[in-house]
């Protein structure tokens, strides 16, 4: 069937206004915060699950795939329609349907912005814990698809630990509920597998999230070290002592250099690394933990420890971390954000390996990451105008992923596999492991219906578009997050 037929059917089902098909409109939806691109044939903005179901049915009839898109802040190409087809944008599905403070849950549509849930819950002393750095912009639907994390996931877990149920549109267009509002629901935990399935199993149209009480006391510490090795030893020591702070973040010298002119955080110009540590809980527990953390840092030669007890002071200590990625844009024309995980005890050695590899490849790297759970984010700076630089930086990325896997870790901690890393999946999973995962896809009847080309290794590329677009790695500006 022709594209014009697809568009006509979508217009009839969703309304003309909510179907985009002009080339200049479609261009906006061909990318996210990653380096890959793919042009959809049509973009629809449905208002509810029934409209999503109609769009899915039409795409099916026309034999084209469907890719869901939230705010487009993803870092693994999750929202990119690698094989064209229909992009379903959840922007209009942005209602908080229900907020039940007594049962500490909220039912929200997928287009709701992460931070808006916490804002709505704040009057009840509640909040939604997962806090991707993009939380002012990213949508809960995208968070669910990617099982998004964030600094405070060290203590509270990622998105999957806070989702109780989902309304989905399945590949056959059926709208159904998985899980529910209660702690236990009979049957297989299908909610648990749809979260993090990167949009390949179903389109999520409602999310039941768990809300937490705000902690009584929060203490933020910023520990400044001369060398990264000291800071990473401190991380290992804190975790090794059995302490799990709410957040435990690291920034290295290159990151601080980039941040300082903007944020004026007061990082000493010759410091090698800082740790940002947050402890929460009853004031008695928080204080004790803060003291213990400070003492470990001092024993490992922290040259200075700053403590934030008020919200204002804490915001100041966090400002450098939160503005880090945007500021990095100053240091190089482009940079490539990596996401890997290692056992926390191996932090010092693997970080050494990362710096060594970057030096060998001739790239500067800025490390700003969730050190407490071993989730590395090396940001490799390069200039895409230099011939061959793009391929070289991708090769470096592959080598760093290898370091993580060889250390017993994973190829992604929170950004997802997406398109870029699907061929690394076979480094950590056997053919049998992947075959079992594909059975789940078969059970959902999804095969290549939803977000094709993602997660699983395949020889098929993100079209011919991909190789061309890969050569033009996107410039990431001040609104980038990690």
């Amino acid at each position: 069937m022709k594209r014009s037929g697809l568009i006509r059917d979508l217009q009839a089902a969703i309304g003309r206004r909510w179907v985009l098909h002009a080339p200049e409109d479609l261009l906006v939806y061909e990318y996210d915060a990653t380096i890959d691109r793919g042009l959809p044939e049509a973009v629809v903005l449905p208002e509810d699950a029934r409209a999503v179901a109609r769009a899915v049915g039409i795409a099916r009839n026309h034999g084209v795939p469907v890719t869901a898109r939230g705010a487009g802040t993803g870092l693994s190409g999750g929202a990119i329609p690698c094989e064209g087809g229909v992009v379903i944008v959840t922007t209009r599905m942005n209602r908080i349907v229900e907020l039940d403070p007594d049962n500490r849950i909220a039912v929200v549509e997928p287009g709701v912005i992460n931070l808006d849930i916490s804002r709505a819950a704040a009057p009840y002393g509640l909040y939604y814990a997962p806090d991707p750095s993009s939380q002012k912009a990213c949508s809960i639907g995208g968070n669910v698809a990617e099982n998004a994390g964030g600094p405070h996931c060290l203590r509270y877990g990622t998105t999957t630990n806070h989702v109780l149920g989902l309304e989905i549109v399945a590949a056959d267009g059926e709208v159904l509920w998985l899980g529910g509002k209660t702690a236990d629901t009979p049957g297989y935990d299908l909610t648990g597998v749809v979260v993090g399935s990167e949009g390949t199993l179903a389109i999520v149209t409602k999310v039941i999230v768990r809300l937490l009480h705000k902690p009584e006391t929060t203490i933020t510490l910023l520990a400044i070290f001369d060398a990264v090795s000291q800071a990473s030893r401190a991380v290992s020591a804190i975790i090794g002592k059995g302490m799990v702070p709410a957040a435990l973040e690291m920034m290295d010298k290159n990151t601080m250099e980039a941040v300082e002119p903007f944020v004026h955080a007061g990082y000493p110009p010759d410091a090698g690394a800082v740790l940002l540590i947050e402890v929460e809980g009853l004031k008695e527990d928080a204080q004790e933990q803060a003291d213990a953390v400070a003492s470990i840092c001092r024993d490992l030669n922290a040259r200075e420890i700053r403590i934030g007890l008020t919200q204002e002071d804490q915001d100041r200590l966090w400002a450098g971390r939160k503005g880090a990625l945007g500021a990095l844009g100053r240091l190089a024309p482009s940079y490539y954000i990596l996401d890997g995980v290692i056992p926390r005890t191996l932090l010092p050695t693997v970080l050494d390996g990362v710096y060594e590899a970057c030096e060998r490849f001739g790239f500067r790297v800025a490390n700003v990451f969730h050190a407490g759970d071993g989730n590395l984010h090396p940001n490799v700076m390069f200039d895409e105008r230099v011939p061959g630089a793009t391929q070289k930086v991708l090769d470096l990325g592959e080598e760093i992923m290898r370091l993580c896997v060889d250390a017993g870790g994973s190829i992604t901690g929170e950004h997802g596999v997406g398109y870029e890393k699907r061929n690394y999946m076979s480094w950590i999973f056997s053919e049998d492991d992947l075959e079992v995962m594909s059975r789940l896809k078969a059970a959902f009847g999804a095969s290549e219906m939803f977000n094709p080309g993602k997660v699983f290794p395949t020889s098929k590329g993100c079209g011919e578009v991909s190789s061309r677009m890969r050569a033009a790695i996107a410039k990431v500006g001040a609104d980038a997050y990690v």
Binding site: T191, L201, S236, D285, F429
Partner: protein, 420 residues
Amino acid sequence: MIAQATILDDLSAIVGGKHAYPADESQRFAVDGMTPQAVVEPGSYEEVAAVMRYVSEEGLAVIPLGGGTKRHIGNLPARYDLALSLSRLNQIIEHEPADLTVTCQTGISVPELQRRLDIHGQKVPLDGWLPEQPSVGGVLAANANGPSRPAYGALRDFTIGMRVVTADGRITRAGGKVVKNVAGFDLCKLYIGSLGTLGVIVEATFKVMPVARLQRSVLLSLDTPGDACALAADLYRRGLALSHVQLSGAGDEAEYSWLLEIGVAGSEGAVERSENEVAGLAPGLNAQPAGSDVSSTDPFSGEHFDDSSLLCRFSTPPSRLAAFIGDVQGLESPVVLAEPVTGVVRAAWPETDGAMVLERAREIAARHSATVVVERCSPELKQRIDVFGDPPPAFELMRRVKEQFDPKGILNPGRFVGRL
């Protein structure tokens, strides 16, 4: 159907004669009165896989078993040829205390795992139900979370990896060994609570946590479940250092006694402060201290309740818990054990006309938007009911999952939701 002698010969060839034997009369491997033809105890993952390839080829129905403490959960088996005991797979594979992770085989008992972790001042946040010795695998398969769930999370939160032998005998991995990992579908979630119907979980990796420096309990006696739930909600809202809050009730039509057990754990300062706040709030609710003789035994273990009892597990919205308990209490006065923070309640009727009570209990649950699972009842009643109640909305999808993972229907056939 192949002869028992042949099955034993074939299995002996895989695991050695000592580890394949006819199920004895001791009922150790009986499930709802059904006894298998044979018991097999593989000593390695490869042997589990070989056994599964064999049963898959022969079309035998197999029930994986650990400590056997959760056999009463689930529907009647449609068939039961072989008990696959994981008791020999009881090793800790890897424990790196400084990484706060542990990997163990699933035949290890929860108390044994805890004992081994305790040497390093750590634990898995699993509640031990002494004197029973549930295996790690059994607890995972049954998704048996205890009262510490609000404080430390549920199994699905702290299980980060698994090795699972598939129905057709392949050793597969799900998740990994690092605490944060989003690579691939999160199959661990699928296996947890699947009651051994999708694969045989042979290894699991958990996040561990330090044992609290101080762990104490406060026991209060209260007049009504409403007071107890209000107190629990208040304590939780204050963010006190609670390890668990559990409400138990028993009595007759004339009088019920309610006990609220509040576990406090953490630093000295936090524990003391928490205890003080409990003490400060208690009088307002007419709550009386009831000593500190806290029992760590499961009041619903087989010791106290056998298959002539009816034991139901409800999951209510926490805001409805008190009203729900009130209604259930009026239904032939069951013994009640509730977690006010999660809204999970178990109620047991020692001797009863199970069918009538169950029907009314389900009505009450529906009224309060609660889910119900029958955890224990007589085999006669089991023949007439689905212990999971009406199939959930996504049942058709669940059926397709089962079909994909166990196309021949050999893993625990008939026992799961909708008799999958």
